[in-house]
């Protein structure tokens, strides 16, 4: 199976700042690749390269085997790479179906909107992804954050996305809402899409991901198949294991022994220490 999206040794500088270095990533159809990392790890830079907002400075970026260098998000979109950003690009006061088709309205000649078609399609597409919106005429602002996120994803899928890039879709959501979005990611995978799921939450990433890329300070510090890594190891990698241990030692030195011991303990259970 050829990868839909394949990055090999990709790097990006902003002036003298090295934002990303030597990152490799591969997404095939029906696969979810999670990109994890703390703030400043380079997740945003990576997503901007994949989405076509920025061009990479080194390495290669291939889409279905063809090397590419995008100059705008439109280029990426034309090749079926759709990015759903955190702010979602929806207009809160407009009905769900108008948002769904905004910018790509279906018409019936003379500029007339095919309202019935758009209403029906919106309802069907959302239903296919497990969201039963009986009233697609309600303003999209009345939906919950998770549902809005799902409409944005369904929209990208409907307009021909082969690869979905999701920028922290669960970051601002409550537990239940995050669950709705995660379920949706699984749905997208089952429909045969490739998904790049950016998050800083290993508990969201682990259940849905097939492969995990962990970034730290612009460098990859792990690239694992699900079989190779446990949830605990993933969490530990994310937390930056050595730093947790360091903190424990510092606290011990200042006399907070109880806290330090607890942290030490935690580091050990997470498998971070050498002993």
């Amino acid at each position: 199976m050829t990868a839909l999206v394949k990055l090999t040794g990709v790097g990006k500088d902003y002036g003298s700042v090295i934002a990303l270095r030597d990152v490799s990533l591969e997404v095939a159809a029906g696969q979810v690749v999670c990109v994890l990392g703390d703030n400043g790890a380079g997740k945003s830079t990576l997503i901007k390269i994949v989405a076509g907002l920025h061009r990479h400075d080194s390495g290669t970026y291939e889409v279905q085997g063809e090397p590419v260098a995008f100059s705008s998000p439109r280029d990426a979109l034309d090749l079926g790479i759709a990015t759903v950003y955190q702010d979602l690009a929806v207009v809160p006061l407009m009905p769900v179906w108008r948002n769904f088709f905004l910018g790509s309205e279906k018409r019936r000649g003379l500029g007339r909107l095919d309202v019935d078609f758009m209403r029906r399609t919106t309802r069907d597409e959302l239903l296919a992804m497990g969201i039963d919106l009986r009233d697609v005429d309600q303003p999209i602002g009345t939906l919950s954050g998770g549902e809005r996120q799902c409409v944005a994803i369904a929209r990208a899928v409907y307009f021909g996305a082969k690869v979905l890039v999701l920028d922290e879709p669960t970051a601002a959501l409550g537990v239940k809402q995050a669950g709705v979005v995660l379920r949706y990611i699984v749905q997208a995978r089952e429909r045969g899409l490739g998904v790049v799921f950016i998050t800083h939450n290993p508990h969201h990433a682990y259940p849905v991901g097939d492969r995990f890329l962990i970034l730290n300070r612009g460098r990859p510090i792990g690239y694992h198949d699900k079989d190779d890594i446990t949830r605990e190891e993933l969490t530990a990698l994310m937390a930056g294991g050595a730093e947790l241990e360091q903190l424990a030692h510092e606290l011990e030195a200042t006399g907070s022994t109880a806290t330090a011991r607890a942290l030490d303990e935690e580091a050990r259970t997470l498998g971070l220490t050498d002993d």
């Binding site: 929806v90 006061l93 108008r98 088709f101 910018g103 790509s104 500029g111 497990g130």
Partner: protein, 346 residues
């Protein structure tokens, strides 16, 4: 797993809470409609003359002259912008047609066509200035308002030596132009000004554009969230410029009515009217922040405006107080609108 999730869990018990009454309440024009009915009952009870058909025709005429402008202004407001130059642009438009026809001794229809081109150019200029400078439309059109007001007076005085344009009543084409822009139509014994029919037509067309065309979708989107609209491929700048041009088109039409109703134009007219247009749109449910409203609402707003305007006269009140009542109506309408929407959206 998917079977379980698409089943009962998806049938959210909260989805069905919007019953038909709520959906009606959430319409932007409902508050205005309630206000219009209340005012109608009030004036019918207090002013005997109000219910006569001839008085009603006068009310409709007053409503239509502001209503035609309110159509363009409301679309622009839904698109998230203001046009403070709309009032004086009506006068500019009338002056251009009048001065060009008279000075060059042309058929008045030539003046009408030239005026259309000039006024549309003014609207596009408003839009371009807004897009280029990225300043709030309030500031940009405040500037063009002042410039147009000055130019109206300056040019008219320079050309005619007077503050009013010369009468074009005896010129070629005046009669046919008056038929189109300023005639009276006999409706079963009552004379109704043709502007009333134009007002209705404009409102119908604008409503169709808003609700049933791609352009309408874009108007709501650029007013509701311009950044999001841009991100999904809506041409934001082009949509906004077109909306300013739409206001200009309405200004041209109103200007032609003004010219052919009186044959001469006072160059200082129109100042302050821009607020009345905005008031019509706001009473009709347009949000000042954009992204919400309707052309039908603006028409009802204009009807309220006309009723207050003439109702005061029929009720034998001191017309000096007209603006006071208009202000009170504006306040009441916006408060009612706000409450209705808050209740309906909860």
């Amino acid at each position: 797993m998917t079977q379980a999730t698409t089943g009962p869990a998806a049938a959210d018990e909260r989805v069905a809470r919007r019953d038909p009454l709520r959906r009606l309440l959430v319409r932007p024009e409902l508050g205005a409609l309630i206000g219009a009915v209340a005012l109608f009952v009030f004036f019918s009870a207090t002013a005997d003359a109000f219910l006569q058909t001839s008085s009603f025709s006068t009310v409709l005429y007053a409503s239509s002259t502001f209503g035609i402008m309110a159509v363009g202004v409301s679309l622009l407001m839904i698109g998230g912008e203001f046009d403070l130059s709309a009032g004086v642009m009506v006068t500019s438009s009338a002056l251009v047609a009048s001065l060009v026809s008279f000075q060059l001794t042309l058929n008045v229809w030539a003046g009408v066509a030239i005026s259309l081109a000039v006024t549309l150019a003014l609207g596009v200029l408003n839009g371009l200035l807004f897009v280029w400078t990225k300043l709030p439309s309030f500031i940009v059109t405040l500037a063009t308002f002042l410039m147009l007001a000055g130019a109206n007076l300056g040019v008219t005085k320079a050309v005619t030596g007077n503050v009013a344009s010369d009468s074009i009543r005896d010129m070629d084409g005046f009669a046919s132009a008056k038929d189109v822009f300023a005639s009276e139509v006999d409706m079963g014994g009552v004379n109704v000004n043709v502007t009333v029919f134009w007002w209705i037509a404009f409102t119908v067309v604008a409503t169709w554009i808003l609700l049933r065309t791609r352009a309408g979708n874009w108007i709501f989107a650029v007013g509701g969230n311009a950044d999001s609209a841009r991100a999904v491929g809506v041409p934001v700048a082009r949509t906004k410029i077109a909306l300013f041009a739409g206001v200009a088109f309405c200004a041209w039409f109103s200007g032609m009515h003004l010219l052919f109703a009186f044959a001469t134009v006072q160059s200082g007219e129109g100042v302050g009217n821009e607020f009345f247009y905005i008031i019509c749109a706001v009473i009709g449910g347009c949000l000042l922040t954009g992204g919400y409203g309707s052309a039908i609402g603006a028409a009802i707003g204009a009807f309220i405006f006309g009723m207050v305007n003439k109702g005061i006269v029929y009720a034998d009140w001191n017309p000096d107080w007209f603006r006071f009542f208009l202000g009170a109506a504006l306040l009441a309408a916006t408060v009612v609108n706000h409450l209705v929407r808050r209740r309906a959206e909860r």
